[in-house]
Each structure stands twice: as C-alpha cells, then as structure tokens.
C-alpha cells in the first residue's frame, strides 16, 4: 500500500470516527424532550400528586429511541425512525419523576426532562389550651 493510500484510508477512518461521534453528539444535542406539567405542588393536605403527564420530543433527524421513567421499569414507549413523538401517561407520585429518551438498547441517554415535586412547608399551630374545659 503506497503512502497516498495510507493517507486516504487514515483520513477516511478519522473522518468516519469523528463523523460518528459528531452525529452522535449532534443526536444528543438535537433530540429535545419536554414534559408537562413540569412541577407538581403538594399542599399540606396532599400526600401524592395524581396527574396526567404529557411528554413530547423532537429531533432534526429520524431516530429510533425509547422513552422511559427512572425507577419505573414497567414504563417504556419506543419509536423507530421517527423525528418526533408524544406520549401521555397518568401517574401517581410523591417524588421527582425523571423522563429519559434512550437508544433502543437503553444504554445511552439522549435527552432528559423531569416533573419536579414541590412540598409546601406545613406550618403547624398550637391547639387551644383550655384546662377550664371539663373534657380537657
């Protein structure tokens, strides 16, 4: 193999490698995920959030990926060769719910979005002190 061929194959290899990473990074940067609502507020009388969460994603290029929720292995919804997708699910939760778009083998995270739980501080007050009351 002469020097020109070596340079050619070397550059081709380098380009392919860089291109792969670039496209992969571009996929990482290009895939956008959003969820709604983004926040659930628990008042003093609430123990859990019960709401329908709507997830929406888009990509500049068709992708094959799955939407999962961290800590909920039973929830997975996949798309093959789509540039956008939506998914709605009714959830009951009292902690932050992390939504992730992953590749089909579920090895790499492509995008992340979360539904945050905000717990309002409960401000207690004293019960009336009434020792004059015969029943207290």
């Amino acid at each position: 193999m002469n020097r020109h061929n070596l340079i050619f194959w070397g550059l081709l290899s380098l380009t392919s490698t860089l291109g792969y990473h670039y496209s992969y990074a571009a996929n990482d940067a290009g895939v956008e995920l959003s969820v709604s609502p983004r926040v659930c507020t628990l008042t003093s009388g609430d123990k859990q959030c019960a709401t329908s969460v709507h997830a929406q994603w888009s990509s500049p290029t068709p992708e094959s990926l799955c939407l999962v929720i961290v800590g909920r292995p039973e929830i997975k919804h996949c798309w093959e060769h789509y540039a956008e997708g939506t998914y709605s699910i009714d959830l009951i939760f009292d902690e932050d719910q992390i939504f992730q778009l992953r590749d089909l083998p579920l090895e790499h995270v492509l995008a992340t979005a979360a539904v945050r739980v905000i717990k309002e501080a409960v401000r207690l007050r004293h019960r009336r002190r009434d020792p004059w009351n015969v029943f207290n």
Partner: protein, 290 residues
C-alpha cells in the same frame, strides 16, 4: 363621679390591658413542629366522638340528672381564627409558651334551665350542665316564701360572652385566664374563668389533675339565679377540682375518663332554684378522633 357600670368597664379594660402586656412572659416549651396532640394543621376540621357512660349530678332538688352517653366534639383552626365546639375566637399572639386569644363563649348557666341548650350535649364546662326542672319547685329554701305558689323556673335567653383569653405553659403546667363580658345584651355581666392543669403521670397513659375558679358578677348571677324582689344575689366564686385519664389505643381510638367537682358560690347556692351547692360530673368511655 364615675358610675358603677363605668367603674366596672374601666376595671375590665384595665385587666384586659394588663393581660395583653403580661401575656408574652412565660417560659419556653417544645415548639409546635410536628402533628402531636397539641399541634394542629391549620385549615382542617377536627372531630371526635366519645361513647361511654357518665352522669352530671343535678343539684336542683328533684331535678333529673343528665346522662352522658355520646359526647361529640369538633374544632377548626385557621391561621388565626378558630372554632372550639361552641366557642370561637381569634388568636392575637402565639408562641410556644403563651397564647393570647380573643374568644366568644356561651354563658353556661343557661343549661340549668333549658334542657335543649347545646351545652348539655357538647359538655364544655362542668359547672352548669344540669337538666332543667320541668316542674316548678314545690317550695323555696333559705327562708323565701311565695305563699301557696311555687317560684317558676326562668327561661333565660342564649347569652354569649367575649373577651381576652390568655393561656400559658410553665414547666409542665398549663394555665388559662378568661376575662369575659356579656355582649348579647341580656344582663351585661362579667365572668372570669381561670384554671390550672397539672400532669401527674405521662407515659403510655396520661393522668392530669386540674383546679380552677370561676367568678361570676352580680349581674350574671342575678340574671340566672335571682328571684326578683325575693332574692337579689351578689357575685359568686365557684372553685372546682378535676382529674382526667387518657390512654391511646390502636389507630384513632383512645380511652378517657374524668371526674369534675365544682362548689357553687354562696350567691348561687342560696338561690331559690338551687338545692345543692355541689356539682359532680363524671364520664368514662372510648373516643374516636377524626
């Protein structure tokens, strides 16, 4: 020269002001940081229902004693406003050791004469919950006579009192002072309620002792217990003692028992409507808290 009513009003306002000034000065107590028995979440109604057996001994001669079988209780606490059975009020100041409320409370003496008075069911006070004597007294005591006609029992109107209420905790003692004035226009009298609760045992069950005294002005005593021109009483001082036992059971159930003894001041005891100077109330039963 100020009139007697003006003097009384000035004395009342002076006591109110003194109460307000002295209210913050009490020693500290564990803060209200968790939903213990004495801490509540604002904005919620609280209900409890007691089922058991008890009695209020009627001091009226030939009067019927009142059985205590079912005792409902309810309360609501807002950020400052509260309802405590038939009492309602606003919290003006509160810290861990001291609370100053402005409270409205019914005059309990009416339960002597009107069986349907709600305080015969909600059991807020041990001093006044007697059954009415439907039949007029056959005779009068203490030297009052009416010839051949018995003195009919009066049927007083519902009266409400209002005024400042200071409650405090010092060490493990819980105290309370209410200085109340009747504002419903029936008799323009005053009542001062004071009590002290002393915890005796606090473990898997609680045993508390209590003592107190209630002062009733002459206008109040005369409205309920006066016998017209035959008997015009002065003010009365009613001391009381009580003991209470509470034991939490499983879930929302607990067991409670109490006994309350009150001695009627002479101005009330000498009334032609009253035959006994002692009032005893006792009850034991199971409580469901919602």
């Amino acid at each position: 020269m100020p009139t007697t009513h003006a003097k009384r009003t000035l004395a009342y306002l002076g006591t109110v002001l003194l109460t307000i000034l002295l209210a913050p000065y009490a020693s500290a107590n564990p803060s209200c940081t968790d939903a213990r028995q004495d801490c509540v979440v604002p904005g919620k109604w609280n209900f409890s229902l007691s089922l058991g057996a008890g009695l209020r001994i009627n001091p009226i001669d030939d009067g019927k004693n009142i059985p205590l079988i079912v005792i409902p209780q309810f309360s609501y606490y807002g950020k400052r406003f509260f309802i405590d059975n038939l009492d309602a009020g606003v919290t003006l100041f509160e810290n861990d050791a001291s609370t100053l409320n402005f409270v409205a409370s019914p005059s309990y003496d009416r339960v002597y004469f009107v069986r349907s008075d709600l305080q015969n069911f909600f059991v807020p006070s041990g001093s006044n919950a007697f059954s009415i004597a439907h039949n007029p007294r056959d005779s009068l005591q203490h030297g009052f006579t009416s010839g051949s006609t018995a003195l009919p029992l009066p049927r007083p109107r519902i009266s409400y009192l209002a005024g400042p209420e200071w409650s405090f905790t010092i060490a493990n003692l819980t105290g309370q002072v209410d200085i109340l004035h009747e504002f419903t226009g029936n008799f323009h009298g005053e009542e001062i309620r004071s009590a002290l609760q002393i915890p005796l045992i606090k473990s898997t069950y609680n045993l508390n002792a209590g003592m107190g005294v209630t002062w009733k002005s002459a206008a109040l005593v005369n409205y309920y217990y006066g016998g017209g021109p035959l008997y015009r009483p002065g003010s009365a001082l009613n001391p009381f003692l009580k003991i209470g036992y509470q034991r939490p059971l499983s879930g929302k159930w607990s067991f409670t028992a109490f006994a309350h003894y009150e001695y009627l001041g002479s101005a009330i005891a000498k009334s032609p409507y009253i035959a006994r100077a002692q009032v005893l109330t006792f009850f034991a039963g199971f409580v469901y808290n919602h």
